[in-house]
């Protein structure tokens, strides 16, 4: 997993980087609500220099794996 993604998750959701796995979902992370999701999106856009669409942003609120999938589609972190 991209380091930028792992550290953004850890920072925003108060987790240790080692706890950030691809299986994490908004249901399993207390602080992963709609507002913090937007903060995550802003952090990722700044970290990777990309611009995401609303459809992608909505899709990314599924799991860490989905966030990674969209980032990879943008060629981010590679």
């Amino acid at each position: 997993m991209q380091d930028g993604l792992r550290s953004a998750f850890a920072d925003l959701f108060g987790l240790d980087e080692s706890e950030v796995t691809e299986e994490l979902t908004p249901d399993s992370v207390d602080l992963w609500d709609s507002l913090n999701h937007l903060r995550l999106i802003t952090a990722l856009e700044e970290a990777f220099g990309i611009k995401l669409t609303m459809a992608e942003i909505e899709y990314m609120m599924g799991s860490v794996a989905k966030v990674r999938e969209v980032l990879e589609r943008h060629g981010a972190g590679q």
């Binding site: 507002l35 937007l38 903060r39 999106i41 802003t42 669409t53 609303m54």
Partner: protein, 175 residues
């Protein structure tokens, strides 16, 4: 004039206020809300004000647009600078919109006796003020903005921003 104003505020039964705004402005004002009948207070059709909210002109213009929803327990006070709220704006429960401030530069005079100031507040169309948000005098909130619950806004918020915190900062721009 002041006496008339007081009589209107205190002696007019709330159901009369509700009926007045319903018939004249096609607004739904809860009989449990505290809204005065005053030429300085205007509301567009379809606007609703829910129970226990208080709307006060305090000598300024309070202009509320069409289809605005003011939830329960809100406090909106205009003062000289005035307060404008655009169409389709949603005001969540316990929101305070305070259109005045006090000078506090003299420590030998109680703050309440120092000069009252009022720059006014402008809230554009389609804004969503989350529960418990506070909008202070001088704030200018552009169209499409979302203010997260319990945030405090005192400056300019650009169009379509999502803001959070005290002071409220942009965390995202809607697209």
């Amino acid at each position: 004039m002041k006496l008339l104003h007081r009589i209107r505020r205190l002696a007019v039964p709330s159901f009369v206020v509700t009926l007045w705004y319903l018939l004249r402005h096609r607004c739904r004002i809860s009989p449990r809300a505290e809204v005065e009948i005053n030429a300085l207070l205007t509301m567009g059709a379809g606007t609703e004000v829910n129970a226990f909210s208080k709307l006060k002109v305090s000598g300024g213009v309070l202009r509320i647009g069409r289809n605005v929803s003011v939830s329960t327990c809100c406090f909106i006070s205009a003062s000289e600078g005035g307060v404008e709220i655009g169409d389709y704006t949603m005001v969540g429960p316990n929101v305070s919109i305070v259109g005045n401030n006090y000078r506090y530069d003299r420590i030998d005079v109680p703050t309440v006796l120092q000069e009252k100031t009022s720059k006014g507040i402008r809230i554009a169309d389609n804004v969503w003020l989350g529960a418990g948000a506070v909008v202070l005098d001088g704030a200018r909130i552009d169209a499409g903005v979302i203010v997260a619950p319990n945030s405090v806004v005192s400056g300019h918020v650009p169009e379509n921003a999502v803001v959070q915190g005290n002071p409220a900062r942009v965390i995202f721009t809607r697209r």
